[in-house]
């Protein structure tokens, strides 16, 4: 440590500063993350004159160090002396905004946007705007892409001459030579439009939008779609038709499937932005085309939007539009050749029943559900089953039960355990909707069969499923149907099945209550304490610890304590460990 004359408090800071240039990345990273400590020790003056210049040139470092640095500098204003000196942070952030690694640049831009708010209007024009201009006219595309994200934060707070310059710079970047910069500009176009005066939106932004939407690179065109949605929200209804719609119509029919995919993906936002009239005249036919697109990715994206699109249709004509325009396309998608399309549709199609009402659901949708329930792809069937609640509200699930049951049984026995796991998770929901009688009759045996599945994850999920079923159907039901079967497994010759009994008791004791636990479960657990397999014995200890709080104190003292004490002297160290743990948790010592 520091000697008599040295300052003890300097030492840890000195280490931190030295580690800024340590060879080990992890140490440099640690040091950068404590940059505020260093700055605090140096004081605002030295931070501005020594630390920041050093950091400005440290752009050679690893990405993770630079990323941490970019993030730190975003909240460094106080450490350089407050808003008055905030512009001192610009040089290091400017150099970070030009590195080649996207995440670092994005973080630097984020920090720049943050500290731009701390600039006074004067400082903004004197320091911040020149930085934006420098970046915008930089030699390398990295600096120009970073500039795109900075226009919108300074525009509202500068004079009208500077505003004109900013608009000019943005225009230039929209027609940059490199597609990377045009992409960055296209992705910020909507954001920039939001801070512009309406007249400039019409005179400046619209031509840029039109140009980007017909860029030769489809990677640029597809980003223009999103900008179009934002721009549409800004314009009054009467301008939409002339200024935005021609371009959006063209995007929906673009030669590139990626652009059409983007339109499909943004369809609900688009629908909200353009309002009911244009939805009726333009979006409905466009949506039909997307549902019939030749590329499966586009159809899947559109299929995902079917419900939301229908929901947001103007109420007066909703039903007619769905019945005459949308439903025919949906019917075709049910037998699509691509399983992703079918499964996307299956995840939303049930939602249509609430919109269309009982009669239409029975007549038109029910046949589709039934076809999908028999689909060869398990994901399609699962998606239908997982959304049964929507239909239940409208027509009751019984209408479906004839087809539902075979579908469930087949999924329950699927060769892929993930599929089995997924259907187990829907069991409590199904049980609730189908009612206890139907459940006992058809599904109970399935739930019990899962308890002896050869995959642990399934047995575990089955245990948890039983608990949820008991929550739904009550303790009495449990005592009559489940508990005897569970306890019966305690005598199974397979120790894994015997352990399942213990796991079930862990899960069920709470929901079954004291009486059933003490009377029926506890004796079985205690009996199992003499099992030959150590794994079973230590699980008995864990089980007792778990169900202890449910039991009354006399049962604990008279029955549990002696067993645990015996297990505590077991020759297996794991059994001992868990027995002692249970004794101390249950305070039986």
């Amino acid at each position: 440590m520091a000697g008599a004359e040295g300052d003890d408090s300097l030492y840890p800071i000195a280490v931190l500063i030295d580690e800024l240039r340590n060879e080990d990345v992890q140490l440099r990273l640690n040091s950068i993350k404590k940059l505020s400590t260093i700055a605090l020790a140096l004081g605002v003056e030295r931070t501005r004159t020594e630390l920041l210049p050093f950091l400005t040139d440290t752009i050679y470092d690893e990405d993770e160090v630079l990323l941490a640095l970019a993030e730190q500098l975003g909240s460094f204003t106080v450490l350089v002396g407050g808003p008055e000196f905030v512009h001192n942070l610009l040089p290091p952030l400017e150099s970070l905004a030009t590195v080649e690694e996207t995440v670092v640049r994005d973080k630097a831009v984020e920090s720049l946007r943050k500290i731009s708010q701390e600039h006074s209007p004067v400082d903004l024009e004197v320091h911040f705007v020149p930085l934006v201009k420098r970046l915008a006219s930089g030699d390398w595309f990295t600096s120009r892409t970073s500039a795109c994200g900075l226009f919108s934060v300074c525009y509202p707070r500068v004079s009208s001459t500077v505003k004109a310059e900013i608009r000019q710079h943005f225009r230039t970047l929209c027609s940059d030579d490199t597609p990377m910069v045009r992409r960055a500009a296209a992705s910020k176009l909507g954001e920039f439009a939001k801070v512009l005066e309406l007249d400039y939106v019409k005179s400046d932004i619209i031509p840029l939008f039109t140009a980007l939407a017909s860029d030769e690179q489809d990677s640029v065109r597809l980003l223009a779609v999103e900008a179009g949605v934002s721009i549409a929200t800004l314009l009054p209804q009467e301008d939409l038709e002339a200024l935005v719609m021609p371009t959006l119509r063209q995007a929906a029919e673009d030669k590139s499937w990626r652009v059409r995919y983007m339109v499909a993906d943004k369809f609900s936002e688009l629908q909200k932005a353009v309002g009911p009239e244009i939805t009726k005249t333009d979006l409905v036919p466009a949506f039909q085309n997307l549902l019939k697109d030749c590329e499966a990715e586009v159809r899947a994206a559109a299929a995902n939007k079917v419900k939301v699109f229908c929901e947001n249709l103007p109420e007066d004509s909703r039903e007619t539009i769905i019945m005459t325009h949308i439903l025919p396309c949906v019917k075709e998608l049910v037998s699509d050749t691509n399983q992703h399309v079918k499964s996307a549709l299956a995840s939303v199609i049930m939602g249509l029943s609430t919109i269309l009402g009982k009669d239409n659901t029975v007549e038109h949708l029910l046949p589709l559900f039934l076809v999908q329930l028999k689909d060869e792809c398990p994901e399609v069937r699962l998606n239908i089953i997982s959304n049964l609640d929507c239909v239940n509200e409208v027509i009751g699930i019984r209408q479906l039960s004839q087809s539902l049951l075979p579908a469930i049984v087949e999924l329950a026995e699927d060769a892929k355990w993930r599929v089995r796991l997924a259907i187990i998770e829907y069991m409590p929901l199904l049980a609730g909707q189908l009612g206890v009688e139907f459940f006992d009759e058809k599904l109970n045996s399935l739930c019990m069969a899962w308890l002896i599945d050869h995959v642990f994850a399934i047995r575990e999920a089955a245990t948890c499923n039983l608990m949820k079923l008991v929550e739904k159907f009550g303790a009495e039901w449990a005592q009559n149907t489940i508990v005897p079967k569970v306890l019966g497994m305690a005598n199974d010759s397979n120790y894994l099945h015997r352990m399942t009994t213990l796991f079930c008791i862990n899960a069920l004791s709470g929901v079954c209550g004291q009486e059933i636990t003490t009377k029926h479960m506890l004796p079985v657990v205690l009996k199992m304490s003499t099992d030959q397999v150590a794994n079973v014995r230590f699980n008995v200890a864990r089980c007792l610890q778990k169900i202890g709080p449910v039991l009354d104190s006399s049962a604990l003292q008279a029955e549990v304590k002696p067993v645990l004490e015996k297990l505590a002297t077991d020759q297996d160290m794991d059994v001992k460990y868990f027995a002692l743990e249970a004794i101390s948790v249950l305070a039986l010592a």
Binding site: M1, A2, G3, A4, E5, G6, D7, L10, Y11, I13, A14, V15, I17, D18, L20, R21, A41, L42, R46, E50, L51, F54, D57, T58, Y60, T98, V99, E100, E101, T102, W140, F141, T142, S143, T178, P179, M180, R183, E216, Q217, D218, S219, D254, K255, S256, W257, R258, C294, E295, A296, E297
Partner: protein, 457 residues
């Protein structure tokens, strides 16, 4: 047409070389200021053009190491199959290098400053007497000698079940493709953990396999177009706009073979070993065993131009098959203005074809003939009797000396030729501004002149 002059001869001094030193790929960057080579030993060497025009070593690094795939019990060679430069981003240079399985993105950057000043140690690293540390010192950056560093930025692994034969960067500058024998994958340059399969030729049953992908390349300007060629002699053009999966091609370039000329070797020699889009994007250049062909993208049924590279081998196919030479994969290249085509041949010969004048020339890249500032003399291979003293008989060609990898500077008449472990860089006798810079007068073109450099590696 051209006057070749050797401007750099970058090779091992000793005539003895190991297998690892054999150059396996050569590629200029977009400006032509840099040239990268990869070798069988997994090394990448980058050359920078000096103001005087010579190329000198700028950076050397080990890109790939030999590996072993324990799951499949397969050795993975470190040999660099392809190198592709990324368009310039910032002062650093980026390139993709691939071996059979793994693609790596490398950054080559310069550093000319280093930090000085520790609090607790002196510059030699000795701990200071702590009692002297009374104030905090922030390190300062001081100029130092230029240091070129190569650092691996990303590793794109596990995308291919078969051997990668090509990589190509898209004009959108954010994606690239990689092709193996049966599949083409599309990657995002920033994402290493997934790629999209866009072409899959793998049949359900591998016994039905009838063709393999030999090369794939993106169009230079249209980000949605890619071409790939196969072992059956076809080249397909795919439009990525039409479908996410490009198994169905937009165009198929194939020349009908005269049934009467069919032989056992027909399919083998028609296998396309290289495909290059012209700089204009209008034409495709394909190389098969005996010819180079220029295809107009607008005409699928036959090439617009066909050039014989070494037609005299047509009668030797049997022995070439026995020596496996018939499977050699020769590359081809366009010059900057798409007016001249270059490709390699045997006996350290390489060929150039002037598309306008239809003149062609055979030149030799070897240590014996490439002298400083000497102009390369054309060679002639004769089938029958020698007509001139300098003629070479077909039977005396050395088939072990082959020029597979060639590259042409994107703007100027500078070419790079890899002949086993040697790299020759020739430049046109004309300087870029059009003045002759060598006094000697040559009767007829082509004249390529040599200008050796201190050997490196």
């Amino acid at each position: 047409m051209l006057s070749p002059v050797l401007c750099s001869d970058l090779a091992a001094l000793e005539p003895e070389y190991t297998e690892a030193d054999v150059i396996s790929t050569v590629e200029f960057n977009q400006s032509g200021e840099f040239l990268a080579t990869g070798d069988r030993g997994g090394r990448v060497v980058i050359f920078q053009r000096e103001p005087q025009g010579e190329y000198n070593v700028y950076s050397t690094f080990q890109s790939h190491e030999p590996e072993f795939d324990y799951l499949k019990s397969l050795e993975i060679e470190e040999k660099i199959n392809k190198i592709r430069w990324l368009p310039l981003h910032n002062p650093a240079h980026f390139l993709l290098a691939t071996n059979d399985k793994t693609i790596k993105l490398w950054k080559v950057s310069e550093r000319d400053k280093r930090a000085e000043g520790y609090n607790l140690r002196d510059e030699e690293g000795r701990l200071k007497d702590l009692s002297t540390v009374t104030t905090l010192q922030v390190p300062v950056l001081r100029p130092m000698d230029l240091l070129v560093e190569a650092s691996p930025r990303r590793v794109f692994a596990n995308g291919h079940a078969y051997h990668i034969n090509s990589i190509s960067v898209n004009s959108d500058c954010e994606t690239y493709l990689s092709a193996d024998d049966l599949r083409i994958n599309l990657w995002h340059l920033n994402i290493t953990d997934r790629s999209f399969n866009i072409v899959d030729l793998k049949p359900e049953n591998m016994e039905d396999l009838s063709e393999v992908i030999t090369v794939a390349e993106f169009h230079p300007h249209h980000c949605h177009l890619l071409a790939f060629s196969s072992s059956t002699g076809t080249t397909r053009l795919c439009d990525m706009r039409a479908r996410a999966l490009c198994d169905q091609h937009a165009k198929l370039f194939e020349e009908a073979v005269d049934p009467s000329r069919r032989s056992f070797f027909s399919e083998i020699v028609s296998s396309v070993s290289d495909v290059k889009f012209s700089h204009s994007g209008r034409y495709l250049l394909t190389r098969d065993y005996l010819t180079v062909k220029v295809w107009d993208l607008n005409m699928e049924n036959k090439p617009v131009e066909t050039y014989q590279v070494h037609d005299y081998l047509r009668t030797k196919l049997c022995s070439l098959y026995e020596s496996d030479c018939i499977f050699d994969k020769f590359e081809c290249a366009w010059n900057g203005t798409d007016s001249v085509i270059m490709t390699g041949a045997y006996n350290n010969y390489f060929r150039m074809f002037d598309r306008a004048s239809l003149r062609d020339v055979t030149l030799e890249a070897s240590r014996e003939v490439c002298k400083r500032r000497a102009v390369l003399q054309p060679r002639r291979v004769c089938v029958g009797k020698k007509r001139k003293e300098t003629d070479v008989s077909v039977d005396s060609l050395d088939f072990r000396k082959k020029i597979l990898h060639t590259a042409w500077h994107p703007k100027e008449n500078i070419i790079a030729i890899a002949a086993s472990n040697n790299l020759y860089i020739f430049q046109d006798r004309l300087t870029p501004n059009g003045h002759h810079n060598t006094p000697e007068i040559q009767s007829a073109p082509p004249k390529w002149q040599t200008q050796p450099n201190p050997p490196t590696y």
